[in-house]
């Protein structure tokens, strides 16, 4: 097997926080025993391998350790445990225009940055025209950077950074810069690296970008690798987790919601003994499915002292409280007339896309007005999609293209963009 481009083993980083600058001095004195710092674990035992030619996305919340990991791989900061190995020339774009001096002209800053990247003056001269052309700054290149708009600074920064031709490219959150036109140029450039089989390590808050650009993704959580898998699977899982977090932050659970039916359960009336998600074929408990799978919900219903025929309602609710689907038996003209029964709802060819859904069950009276009891399924429904479909649900589709004007004979998308 070929050697990986990036190897990371047991990588840890602990920062020491001192309450007071004196504490650092006191702790550094020879013979000092007392610990005066608070240890902050930014990275805890991170392990992964990135094969050559792979584009890896890095996702995770704030403070998950993404930036620390990128800084360590770049070589600006050093780990306190474990190690890493990167094979090939590295270029990293941690911050656009990091080395810029505002009082100097764009041209002077280009040479300064090229030198920082390790280029000789001759190499920098060769790259200069390419950088200037890519940045589209024109005559502004001879003006001090302090006269630039922030977009222009970003353009210059990106142009300098991509002028190098690395084997491994490490990119932090930088694609959200510039206007639409320039952003597209940046993405095109990054995609061309990908096509030429370069290894990329790419951090972004845009899950869409990660899914589109990357083959694989790392999900960092609290300084640990929570998941390292196909980028589609990781971004889906991460999006689900984010939705859950949002729901928790808003303290909103589907059955606390004011709009949701209130239980009016008493021993006298019908109740749900148990409800679970099952495989429609084996009828064994199963809660993880893919889009277009058949799903079954098995509901054990028991009538109370006062017998009444009941209707059953089942909903799929995303964790942030959005009701995505509801099935009620009285709409489908099914009435449960039994002292005790097992009711199974089969949802063939489920159209939902990736996410985690709570499945609450309601028992209603014959007319579907009074609610006797409600209970969520023992497990939440988890849908995982392994393709690049986006959104909440899948739908049939058809495209029609009506040509109003013939394409120009020599068609160059870049020239007309």
């Amino acid at each position: 097997m070929a050697q990986p481009a990036i190897e990371v083993w047991n990588l840890s980083k602990t920062y020491r926080l001192y309450g007071n600058p004196w504490h650092r001095v006191l702790e550094g004195l020879p013979g000092a025993k007392k610990k005066r710092h608070k240890a902050v674990h930014a990275l805890k035992d991170v392990n992964f391998h990135v094969p050559f030619g792979t584009c890896v996305g890095l996702v995770g919340g704030n403070g998950a350790g993404k930036s620390t990991l990128l800084k360590i791989l770049t070589g600006t900061t050093f780990p306190t445990g474990g190690g890493f190995r990167i094979r090939g020339r590295i270029a990293s774009l941690l911050e656009l225009g990091a080395g810029f001096n505002r009082d100097f002209t764009g041209k002077e800053n280009i040479f300064m940055n090229a030198a920082l990247m390790g280029f000789s003056r001759r190499e920098a001269m060769k790259k200069y025209d390419e950088i200037l052309e890519f940045s589209e700054l024109g005559d502004f290149i001879h003006a001090p950077i302090r006269t630039y708009s922030s977009g222009m600074v970003c353009r210059l920064g990106f142009s300098v950074a991509v002028a190098t031709d690395p084997d491994v490219l490490i990119i932090d959150e930088i694609l959200a810069v510039g206007d639409m036109h320039f952003r597209r140029k940046c993405v095109d450039r990054i995609m061309s690296y990908r096509e030429r089989g370069k290894t990329m390590f790419f951090c972004s808050h845009s899950l869409y970008d990660v899914r589109q650009i990357c083959d694989r993704a790392v999900w960092m959580k609290n300084g640990e690798v929570k998941m390292f898998d196909d980028s589609v699977i990781v971004t889906n899982e991460y999006a689900t987790y984010e939705n859950t977090l949002t729901a928790e932050a808003e303290k909103k659970t589907p059955w606390d919601d004011e709009d949701a039916p209130k239980p009016i359960h008493s021993e006298d009336h019908a109740r749900v003994v148990n409800a679970e998600l099952v495989d429609p074929v084996t009828r064994k408990p199963r809660n993880v499915f893919s889009p277009r799978d058949d799903i079954a919900v098995k509901i054990h219903v028991k009538n109370g002292k006062i017998y009444e025929p009941v209707n059953v309602a089942v909903a799929l609710m995303r964790k942030d409280g959005t009701m995505c689907m509801a099935a009620t038996s009285h709409f489908d003209n099914v009435l449960v007339e039994a002292g005790e029964a097992i009711v199974t709802l089969i949802l063939p060819d489920i159209k939902l896309l990736s996410g985690e859904f709570v499945v609450p069950i309601w028992l209603l009276d014959e007319k579907g007005v009074h609610r006797f009891h409600e209970l969520p399924c023992t497990q939440n429904l988890v849908i995982q999609n392994r393709d690049k479909e986006l959104g909440l649900f899948l739908t049939e589709r058809r495209w029609e293209v009506e040509v109003l004007e013939e394409a120009p004979t020599i068609f160059d998308s870049k020239a007309t963009s």
Binding site: Y15, P21, R24, V25, G28, K71, I72, T74, G75, T76, T77, F78, P79, T80, G81, G82, G83, F84, R85, I86, R87, G88, R89, I90, A91, S92, L93, L94, E95, A98, G99, N101, D103, F104, E108, F111, M112, N113, A114, A115, L116, M117, G118, F119, S120, R121, A124, G157, V160, A161, T164, P166
Partner: protein, 308 residues
């Protein structure tokens, strides 16, 4: 925005060492690093020099105008107002030249090291975001102050030759050695201070106080024989004063332009007073300070990004 030219870039905490001695013994690597990163180094130095005069109409000419006026003031104050009298009697300009030559070299050391001390901390944005040989940072302010010193020397020589206080001899050929000693010494002190400043910013304030004491401890506006005559009973005081890193280089800077440096032969002392002796002493100080500064800087370098 960094390109590593090494094909394999790796780090393992288990095998990494950050010992002082390990780096101190690798001091020749500093020179090879400067040569390898010369494009970066020139950019730093150029930026340092230009940023001092950016936006001023006079521009780089201030480098020349400043020492001319400095000398003119000394000349006026000590040559005419105070009528400093030499041993021969009459009012003379030799004290102005003596003072100017001392201040020139001492200020070069002070300015270079003070700016170098701030070099890593003030480039925090670079140190945090870009992987580059940051041991080059303290070198550029030192180079700039040495360049300013060059211009000052031209002014000093011109003035001294006009007043007749400077008599050129073959000794002037040793001047590049004085320059080199001052350069290496400032770089060493600069590396040491820059690394210390990252961990304790107090050093900046401390150094300002030390620099003042240092200025008066160095024979800049008092001639050494004045002290030598005072302490004939206790020669160790003289020896301690001579154990001053700035002393031999200041003396040598005067001796190469033929300024007389008299000291009673009776005064017992450790350091020889000849130009050769001073040059050897200056070279030893410069080497020791450089190796210590480099060793300390490099052994602490891996922590900079987290602390600046």
């Amino acid at each position: 925005m960094t390109v590593s030219h090494d094909f394999v870039h790796s780090y393992d905490t288990a095998t990494a060492k950050h010992g002082f001695w390990q780096y101190a013994f690798q001091w020749p690597r500093y020179f090879s690093q400067v040569v390898r990163s010369r494009a970066l180094f020139w950019n730093f130095a150029r930026r340092e020099l230009l940023s001092r005069f950016r936006g001023s109409a006079g521009g780089i000419f201030w480098v020349l105008i400043q020492p001319i006026f400095q000398f003119a003031i000394y000349f006026f104050v000590f040559g005419f107002l105070f009528e400093h009298r030499t041993q021969t009697g009459g009012p003379s300009t030799d004290f102005a030249i003596y003072l100017f030559s001392g201040i020139l070299i001492f200020n070069t050391l002070m300015e270079g090291t003070t700016q170098a001390m701030q070099s890593v901390v003030s480039s925090s944005n670079l140190v945090k975001k870009v992987a580059f040989p940051c041991e080059l940072l303290p070198l550029s302010p030192v180079i700039v102050s040495q360049t300013v010193y060059l211009v000052g020397c031209v002014v000093l020589l011109t003035a001294g030759l006009i007043t007749g206080d400077i008599v050129l001899s073959a000794k002037i050929l040793a001047w590049p050695l004085v320059f080199l000693c001052a350069l290496v010494m400032s770089t060493g002190i600069g590396l040491l201070l820059a690394a210390t400043n990252v961990f304790a910013r107090d050093i900046a304030h401390l150094y300002r106080i030390v620099a003042q004491a240092w200025f008066f401890m160095t024979p800049i506006f008092w001639p050494l024989d004045l002290v030598a005559q005072k302490v004939t009973g206790a020669p160790w005081i003289l020896n301690i004063m001579l154990l001053n890193p700035a002393y031999p280089v200041t003396m040598a800077a005067r001796q190469v332009i033929g300024l007389p440096e008299s000291i009673p032969p009776s005064a017992a002392r450790l350091v020889p007073m000849t130009l050769t002796g001073n040059l050897i002493a200056a070279a030893i100080w410069a080497s020791v300070l450089f190796v210590v500064g480099y060793g300390f800087f490099m052994s602490r370098k891996h922590k900079f990004a987290d602390l600046v």
